[in-house]
């Protein structure tokens, strides 16, 4: 898959995994497993980039006697997911055109 496309996809995946409720690193990886095999070293720069872009915020909370970082989606992060949906609707239209059985002529 094209690297730029992949990056946008992975960003959206991570945002989607924290859309319903805040989550933490290992849980995000587990949640995405059915869709994307993501390693720690892949997830980390994504989380940092999303934090810098203010699409998520990080808060530490106590868990079993240690502190764990939880990632919370921001309003801008939710907006990004909406943008992603719109982008992909466009992409879907293009996909339909590409795989059409009956040649490339417009109707």
């Amino acid at each position: 898959m094209d690297i730029q496309m992949k990056r946008g996809l992975l960003d959206a995946c991570v945002l989607a995994s924290i859309r319903g409720a805040p989550s933490y690193g290992y849980q995000i990886i587990k949640d995405l497993k059915p869709y994307v095999e993501m390693s720690e070293s892949t997830l980390y720069p994504i989380l940092r980039r999303l934090e810098t872009a203010k699409l998520l915020t990080v808060r530490s909370a106590e868990h079993n006697g240690r502190l764990r970082k939880y990632y919370h989606i921001t309003p801008q992060g939710l907006q990004r997911l909406e943008t992603f949906k719109t982008d992909w609707n466009e992409l879907l239209a293009i996909y339909q055109y590409i795989v059409r059985e009956d040649g490339g002529h417009a109707e």
């Binding site: 898959m1 690297i3 992949k6 990056r7 992975l10 933490y24 690193g25 290992y26 849980q27 059915p34 869709y35 994307v36 095999e37 993501m38 390693s39 720690e40 070293s41 892949t42 980390y44 720069p45 940092r48 980039r49 530490s60 909370a61 106590e62 079993n64 006697g65 240690r66 502190l67 764990r68 970082k69």
Partner: protein, 396 residues
């Protein structure tokens, strides 16, 4: 097979080029990843292996975010990363990194020291009109401060965090505030920046105060009066200005002790390496033991005996009077008495000098083994016996 700390050390060694914030954040991220896997049921070795190989992770970390490592879509094996041949510069960097590993080890400990500071919050416990008369306060690094309560309610305010909590409860007429140890972080003695236990007291007169603190200091202002007060600190200092009627006992290991105003029937101070300063007190009997700190008394008038012994610190008294015996012993420090007096004095110094002036005439018996002796002649007044081995004796 690496364990968690070995993995983190190996990873740290490979990414020392990063800015400190990024470095610590990255290590914390991977530490958390390992801990979460362990919590999920993996052993420590399994968790570390599952997170990855420190060398490969370091390459991924040090690459710019633009270059993503290959990600398989729902494919179990991780896509292999290309190994770049190490440049000469990288080889030199590795040699430096090896030398920095010791500093890195310290860095891990320092990072964990600061870690407890996150999410610290002030907690408030109130005991309204609950008939509290005595206190048992036990802290670690937190400073213990007693303060007058302006609202007439007994309140405890302390800083708590994920790694530091207190149990605060009332038993009968005694208020207890005791620090709870939590988790492995207490091994490092994690100390928070704002670390205190403040006890606000609505009244002035109370029964007993019992305080034990490790490295936090203890501060008791003059607004209060206790029947007894026992204070034990390890490396924190003690500032005590309240009044005490029966017994005041203070023990400090390396912190200094400063006491004013209190006039207990019995005063005991024991200090190991910190100094002790007592001023403007009217106690009954006084017993002071010092190891290497100096002893300074000023304006202390005892109605009973005063005994002070010091190992290597010096003793300086100014306007110190005992209606009883004054017994001073110093091993390697000197003794100086200025405008002091007692019914009888016994002063012994091993290698220091003894000098000063007493307010009333005394019968001096002075013996210096190798130093000079100069004392007033005459034989009226109480006995003043002075002995020193290698110092001199000089009384006006």
């Amino acid at each position: 097979m690496l364990n968690k700390e070995q993995f983190l050390a190996a990873l740290r060694a490979r990414i020392t080029g990063l800015p400190k914030d990024d470095l610590e954040r990255t290590l914390q991220y991977y530490r958390e990843m390992i801990d979460d896997r362990i919590e999920d049921g993996m052993t420590e070795f399994e968790a570390v292996a599952d997170v990855g190989d420190p060398a490969e992770l370091a390459e991924a970390i040090l690459q710019k975010p633009v270059k993503q490592t290959a990600v398989g879509v729902a494919k179990p094996p991780k896509a292999p990363k290309e190994r770049k041949p190490m440049s000469g510069g990288a080889k030199v960097a590795l040699i430096i990194v090896a030398a920095l590993l010791i500093i890195a080890g310290v860095g891990v400990i320092l990072a964990s020291l600061n870690f407890g500071g996150r999410n610290a919050m002030e907690k408030e416990y109130t005991f309204a009109n609950a008939g509290i008369r005595s206190f048992v306060l036990e802290t670690g690094a937190a400073e213990v401060k007693l303060l007058p309560a302006k609202d007439g309610i007994c309140t405890v305010r302390c800083i708590e965090s994920a790694t530091l909590k207190y149990k605060v409860w009332q038993n009968g007429d005694t208020l207890h505030v005791v620090r709870e140890r939590s988790g492995a972080w207490s091994f490092f003695g994690a100390s928070l920046k704002e670390d205190y236990v403040c006890v606000y007291l609505p009244e002035q007169a109370y029964d007993s105060l019992w305080v034990k603190s490790s490295s936090g200091g203890v501060s008791v202002p003059e607004d209060f009066r206790f029947t007894t007060a026992v204070i034990t600190v390890s490396s924190g200092g003690v500032g005590f200005s309240a009044d005490v009627t029966e017994q005041l006992a203070i023990e400090a290991s390396s912190g200094g002790v400063a006491v004013m105003n209190a006039s207990p029937n019995e005063l005991q101070v024991r200090a190991s390496s910190g100094g002790v300063a007592l001023s403007d007190m009217r106690p009954g009997s006084v017993a002071l033991h010092l190891s290497s700190g100096g002893l300074r008394l000023s304006g202390v008038h005892c109605t009973g005996d005063l005994g002070a012994e010091s190992s290597s610190g010096s003793i300086r008294f100014s306007d110190v009077i005992a209606r009883g015996k004054m017994k001073l012993e110093c091993t390697s420090g000197s003794i100086k008495l200025e405008d002091c007096d007692a019914d009888e004095l016994y002063i012994e110094c091993t290698s220091g000098s003894v000098s000063g002036n007493l307010l009333t005439p005394k019968t001096y018996v002075a013996r210096a083994t190798s130093g000079s002796v100069r004392v007033p002649s005459g034989s009226s007044g109480g006995l003043c016996e002075v002995k020193t081995t290698s110092g001199s004796i000089h009384f006006e």
